[in-house]
């Protein structure tokens, strides 16, 4: 990780439209190595689109992005080697066991067997997946599917970790374990960016948060700075105010 740049995620004027309708516009981001960045926004605000653009699953309609100092256009395979993406719907193989799935993902990222087994055991224990490890993924609950895919991604030791609403479907205990796991990863130098609707999670663990509304970044900073800028309100009040304001301004051309 020593050759990793200081800024691991960088976007300039990033935009994406679907059939002429802009889902994301003019996004400028700079997320440093070892930073935990929370992405907040209403449904359809553009959070998932941003994460998919960063993961190389979508091509930008406008602007530029760089992950770990590279752009997907130049060297997508090199970025993917250093990046882990946990989508909202985990792409598990129904007829593999959790452990077999982790082994598959590890082999795709060329993780050696010993490291894989060590990390896999540790992560399965941390995420309380012991019982599910040798069962077929087909029978997993949504939360277990998410945890197994997260474990598989973390086994690859990504330098940049993108998570789309990671706490959805998790029980409180698993949510707490996930938060601790993310903090551990960040302490090891991993850059983590995740989208969430749970403001409490963002408030507890994020170094900085960004608020998206109707495809535009309307606020960004530490939670404390955002609250101070809005008269010391709670993050929830700040979020509601920002979302309402941007909605009103979007509807009112004046």
């Amino acid at each position: 990780m020593s050759d990793a740049p200081a800024i691991m995620i960088e976007t300039r004027g990033l935009g994406r439209h679907y059939g002429g309708k802009w889902a994301l516009q003019g996004l400028d981001l700079a997320i440093a190595r070892g930073e935990l960045y929370g992405f907040l926004g209403q449904n359809g605000a553009g959070k998932t689109t941003t994460l998919r653009l960063l993961a190389g699953l979508l091509q930008p309609s406008a602007g530029q992005l760089r992950v770990a100092g590279r752009s997907h256009a130049d060297d997508s395979a090199a970025i993917k080697q250093r990046l882990g993406f946990v989508p909202d719907t985990p792409p598990l193989y129904d007829y593999l066991t959790g452990r077999q799935y982790v082994a598959l993902v590890a082999s795709l990222w060329r993780v050696d067997r010993r490291a894989r087994d060590e990390r896999c055991d540790r992560l399965f224990e941390l995420l309380a997946l012991g019982d599910a490890a040798d069962e077929l993924c087909k029978g997993y609950s949504h939360g277990t599917r998410k945890k197994v895919h997260l474990a598989a991604v973390l086994v690859t030791a990504p330098e940049v970790l993108l998570l789309d609403e990671p706490t959805t479907g998790l029980d409180p205990l698993s949510t707490r374990r996930l938060k601790e796991l993310l903090k551990d990863e960040v302490a090891r130098g991993t850059t983590v960016m995740f989208s969430t609707h749970v403001l409490e999670t963002a408030e507890q663990i994020c170094h900085r948060v960004g608020v998206l509304a109707r495809g535009r970044l309307v606020a960004e900073g530490t939670v404390a700075a955002l609250r101070a800028a809005h008269g010391g309100q709670s993050l929830e009040d700040v979020f509601v105010q920002l979302s309402d304001t941007s909605g009103a301004s979007a509807q009112d051309p004046a």
Partner: protein, 545 residues
């Protein structure tokens, strides 16, 4: 290699679950049956004296090539079916795509895995359909072990190039022509391929021995041109059978496989962008904006059922494809040849009975699908019905009303086929409609009873009824019950066949209003009984376990 191993491991894990075991068992039984049929077909015709005489006259080699080619023709049929109906979904919608695309793999690796999956399935299906036939032919020639050893190569050569070409074309189309219209074209092609393959299999089953021998005689003609991949494979097997096969015979086969694979690699490079554009084009066909939903529960449920069909291009296109199937069967006079040839009964009666038989066959094809609308396909909505204020009869009524409308489609199609292919006049059509309405009411009764039978249809805690032994049993019960309810009509026809002079045409014409009235009355009785029983069943079905 890693993805290949993962697929193999998943295949090995398949029998570990009850659903997997059922799916594997069902597939294996189906393939075994098809293989046995293929073997039986070959055995019954290959020793036919007319064919043997012809082989002697033309010389074994030239004729054997044509016969082998005839046997291998099952391969492109399977490739077309799987390439359009199954592989297309895999190319753009399989959940594993998200893993393949985020992994540090080249862009072509994901689609290559889809091609490998499709090629494996194609080879298995084509092996079951064509393999026994070809082996039966080789056993009647002085073929050595090389010929048998080359059979898998021949099957791959006959399936893979077409499969790779179809997938390449779909990737390129999704990349450059993506949009809602293309998704509809894809859905139409998938439906047409499924129905076309089913129709082809049915026609194979209904082909008479004489007709098959004639087809083989035509196939054995030295001038008969074969598709290039079949030609190359048949040539290889024929040379191997005569012990003269060399590298020159193997090269064209390998050339086709290599060429198609190279084409696929080129197209696979377009896949990431094609996948992206395919997802962008995923919008409903019909939104129904500004239309109010009815207040009454049966009307709302009915409208929901219609909306589900109208908003799914695949479902909508399924109706069109079903029309092609009905016309195909009518054109081949499946099940009605004997009826139309029974000159002892008046023609007007023959035409109506032939149309009713075609209608019966058409309804048989859709009974299971429509039965599924009562509970089988509800999925997540099931918990909504369970949680709703308890009015099961109203929900069932709404669903049956929608099914009644859907059941008018086979009726309409048979009218069109009757007018076009059987020269049915207005009188014959009106008589057919009268009796078929009675049949439709009876079909609704049968669907209402079997489609809500708690022992066969109980959904699990997630609202899903898994297809397997119970639903297969339900299908069998429904078909049997439908046949039993319509048995009086069949008995009447057989009785008339034995007593052809019991009625003159004029007397029969006078009887028609009574026959129609009786059919509608009988159908209404069965329908009402079904609705009553179905209502009871449905109430039990909606109660928690």
């Amino acid at each position: 290699m890693k993805l290949l191993l993962a697929d193999l491991r998943a295949l090995v894990n398949l029998p570990a679950t009850a659903i997997g075991r059922r799916a594997t068992f069902g597939l294996l039984v189906g393939l075994l049956l098809l293989g046995a049929l293929s073997w039986w077909f070959a055995s019954t015709v290959a020793d036919n004296p007319r064919l043997l005489l012809l082989l002697e006259q033309r010389g074994q080699g030239a004729s054997l090539r044509g016969l082998l080619g005839y046997g291998l023709m099952a391969c492109p049929m399977v490739s077309t079916w799987l390439g359009l109906a199954m592989a297309q979904r895999q190319l753009f919608e399989t959940p594993e795509l998200w893993l393949w695309r985020t992994a540090p793999l080249p862009g072509w690796r994901g689609p290559l895995q889809v091609l490998l999956r499709a090629a494996f399935l194609s080879a298995v299906w084509a092996g079951a359909l064509a393999g026994p036939f070809v082996v039966a032919l080789l056993r009647r020639s002085p073929a050595g072990p090389t010929a048998y050893a080359l059979l898998p190569v021949a099957i791959v050569a006959c399936t893979l190039p077409l499969l790779a070409t179809l997938l390449s074309a779909q990737i390129a189309m999704a990349r450059f022509l993506s949009g809602r219209a293309l998704r509809m074209v894809f859905a139409a092609l998938a439906g047409a391929a499924s129905v076309g393959f089913t129709l082809w299999l049915l026609l194979q089953l209904f082909t008479t021995r004489q007709h098959r021998v004639q087809e083989l005689v035509d196939a054995a003609a030295p001038t008969r041109a074969l598709p290039p991949t079949i030609e190359a494979a048949a040539q290889l097997l024929e040379r191997a059978a005569s012990g003269t096969a060399g590298l020159a015979d193997l090269l064209p086969v390998l050339g086709w496989i290599g060429g198609a694979t190279a084409l696929f690699f080129a197209a696979a490079l377009l896949h990431p962008r094609a996948h992206e554009r395919h997802l962008e084009a995923d919008r409903p066909l019909w939104r129904g904006r500004g239309r109010r939903w009815p207040a009454s529960l049966p009307a709302a449920i009915r409208k929901k059922e219609f909306a589900q069909v109208l908003q799914q291009p695949g479902a909508l296109i399924g109706f069109v494809v079903f029309a092609v199937l009905v016309f195909g069967l009518a054109q081949q006079q499946v099940l009605v040849t004997g009826i139309l040839a029974n000159f002892r009964v008046p023609r007007e009666l023959r035409v109506v009975v032939a149309m009713l038989t075609q209608w019966f066959l058409a309804v048989l094809f859709v009974l299971y699908t429509h039965m599924g609308r009562l509970s089988l396909w509800d999925g997540a909505q099931w918990s909504l019905y369970m949680a709703a204020p308890p009015r099961p009869r109203a929900i069932l009524r709404g669903k049956l009303q929608a099914i009644a409308v859907f059941l008018l489609w086979p009726l309409l199609l048979v009218i069109l086929a009757g007018v076009k292919l059987l020269d049915a006049d207005l009188l014959a059509v009106s008589r057919f409609v009268g009796v078929a309405i009675g049949g439709t009411l009876a079909a609704l009764g049968v669907i209402a009873v079997v489609g809500t039978w708690p022992r066969l249809m109980r959904p699990d805690r997630d609202g899903q009824i898994l297809q397997g032994g119970k639903t297969f049993l339900a299908a069998m019960v429904m078909v049997t019950l439908f046949e039993v309810t319509l048995a009086p009509a069949a008995i009447a026809w057989w009785w008339l066949g034995d007593h052809p002079h019991s009625f003159t045409s004029a007397e029969l014409a006078q009887l028609w209003p009574h026959i129609v009235g009786l059919a509608i009355g009988y159908g209404a009785l069965v329908g009402l009984a079904g609705l009553w029983l179905g209502g009871r069943n449905y109430r039990r079905l909606l109660q928690p376990n």
